[in-house]
């Protein structure tokens, strides 16, 4: 594949630069494709205009995995450019271009949202929490003096940043080549990986880390506490909210409502007690 991969990966960081409700990432996708289209249609202005119009069709996918779509669409554009002297075949291929573009975008969106937004993003967060816990930064406690723990914080931030971005950039880099070299048989390189297995392994890791932080956090939260009425109230309220949180999640309500609810309830109790 003769192209400057780094250039297209860099441009792909701007996919959502003109996000709109009507056609979502269409202008962002055109921005990434623009130099490629310029090269393909350098001496055919009529076809270049048509290619721009074509690439302005509605587009929406997961930004971290867009390179799979990009590779596939580039390949299809190349086929179209070669067919530009044969009009009937060109129109037929253009229809296929649109089908391939929208089907790969939808598949990648669903996969990417599950893998990156729902799994790797929270996983990188709990990995950072684990570093903080192991470095004795008890962020769940009311007060903690950091003193010389700045390095632990820095390490945790690095873990969170790299834990997310390394998989993202590997996917962006490999996805471009796989999408370009792939075909309908292997769905442009997407079925080269067992995504479900990867997601299940990462989610299980995430559960393990979260459980560790929960237990470790609870231990330090109540370490040295005196068994009295205040402690019992604190434990009861904490347990009640944790159980409520599980129900709220089951009803697909965001946690933020529980926090706002707690503010309201505690304020009312405070005012009328």
């Amino acid at each position: 594949m003769e192209m400057n991969k780094i250039k297209y990966i860099f441009r792909s960081l701007f996919l959502q630069g003109f996000w709109n409700f009507k056609k979502m990432q269409n202008i962002g996708m055109l921005f990434i494709m623009y130099p490629y289209l310029c090269n393909l249609y350098s001496d055919k202005d009529r076809y270049f205009k048509r290619a721009i119009a074509r690439n302005l069709a509605s587009f929406n996918t997961n930004p971290s995995m867009v390179s799979f779509c990009l590779g596939a669409v580039m390949k299809q554009e190349k086929v179209l450019a070669e067919l530009s002297e044969n009009m009937p075949n060109f129109f037929e291929q253009e229809k296929e271009w649109l089908i391939i573009r929208s089907s790969i975008a939808t598949t990648v969106a669903s996969l990417g949202d599950r893998l990156f937004w729902s799994t790797i993003k929270p996983l990188s967060l709990v990995m950072a929490f684990a570093v903080l816990c192991l470095g004795q930064v008890h962020f769940l406690n009311d007060t903690v003096a950091l003193n010389d723990l700045g390095l632990t914080v820095l390490l945790a931030l690095m873990v969170s940043f790299l834990g997310y971005n390394i998989p993202v950039f590997i996917t962006r880099y490999r996805g471009l080549a796989l999408g370009y070299e792939g075909n309908e048989e292997n769905f442009f390189g997407l079925i080269n990986f067992n995504w479900n297995k990867i997601i299940i392994i990462l989610k299980t890791m995430g559960q393990g880390f979260t459980l560790f932080i929960f237990i470790y956090g609870l231990y330090f939260y109540f370490l040295g506490a005196v068994f009295d009425a205040y402690l019992i109230t604190k434990v009861t309220l904490l347990a009640a909210f944790v159980v409520l949180s599980a129900f709220v999640k089951k009803w697909n309500m965001p946690n933020i409502y529980l926090y706002l609810g707690s503010v309201l309830v505690f304020t009312l109790v405070a005012l009328f007690s």
């Binding site: 701007f14 959502q16 630069g17 003109f18 996000w19 709109n20 409700f21 056609k23 979502m24 202008i27 921005f31 623009y34 205009k49 302005l56 969106a109 949202d113 937004w117 729902s118 929270p122 996983l123 967060l125 709990v126 950072a128 929490f129 903080l132 962020f139 769940l140 903690v144 003096a145 950091l146 700045g150 931030l157 969170s160 940043f161 971005n165 299940i200 989610k203 559960q207 979260t210 929960f214 956090g217 904490l238 909210f241 944790v242 949180s245 599980a246 709220v248 999640k249 965001p254 946690n255 933020i256 529980l258 926090y259 707690s262 503010v263 505690f266 304020t267 109790v269 405070a270 005012l271």
Partner: protein
């Protein structure tokens, strides 16, 4: 005032990462909170606010046309309110959450505005009157300016308002907000654990 202008500019710049440039997660509250915490001289507070914000927003996913409340704005407002107006962190966190929600409305408005100008821009792009790079650049500048203005207004409205009301807030209200603040991460941790569930969701 100058430092507030600078902080707002820094946050607006980093906020672009949420949607428009990169999505490298440098705009995640954990990172923004720590940066602002370090700059304002209270790293632990910044870190804690960042973590609490991450946990409380853990179930918001920017999928499709969903515009989630801004975690970056929430964390930044909380830390800056505490630093610039000495607002207690449990009140500042609440104000931060309000501002995060309000920023989502601003974001929806800007996206709808882009819908209106989309047809004209598409025609200009096809006729080579403008390049996609210029369209993106202009939009990113507008987005940065809008967030900066929003953040600055939020600070100069809510900050002095709190200072004015502070004397009248009873100790009991302080306790109520404080307790809600410290309960927030536990609610979030439970949500986080459940979000890692491998079971398919029931319809």
């Amino acid at each position: 005032m100058l430092s507030l202008i600078g902080f707002c500019a820094l946050v607006s710049l980093l906020e672009l990462d949420t949607t428009y440039v990169g999505q490298l997660l440098i705009s995640r509250p954990l990172i923004i909170g720590s940066i602002l915490g370090a700059l304002t001289g209270n790293l632990f507070l910044g870190l804690q606010v960042g973590i609490f914000t991450e946990l409380i927003y853990i179930d918001y996913l920017p999928i499709g046309g969903v515009v989630p409340p801004s975690g970056a704005i929430t964390a930044a407002v909380a830390i800056l309110m505490n630093y610039c107006f000495s607002m207690d962190i449990y009140f500042a966190f609440f104000v931060g959450i309000l501002c995060g929600q309000l920023h989502a409305f601003l974001e929806k408005f800007l996206r709808s505005y882009r819908d209106k100008i989309l047809d004209t821009i598409e025609l200009d792009l096809i006729d080579h009157k403008i390049t996609p790079g210029k369209v993106m650049f202009k939009n990113i500048i507008i987005e940065f300016a809008a967030t900066w203005i929003f953040l600055f207004l939020a600070m100069i409205i809510f900050g002095p308002l709190f200072t004015y009301l502070h004397e009248d807030i009873s100790e009991k209200i302080h306790v109520a907000f404080k307790f809600s603040y410290y309960i927030a991460p536990w609610i979030g941790l439970c949500g986080l654990f459940l979000s890692f569930s491998t079971k398919p969701k029931e319809d």
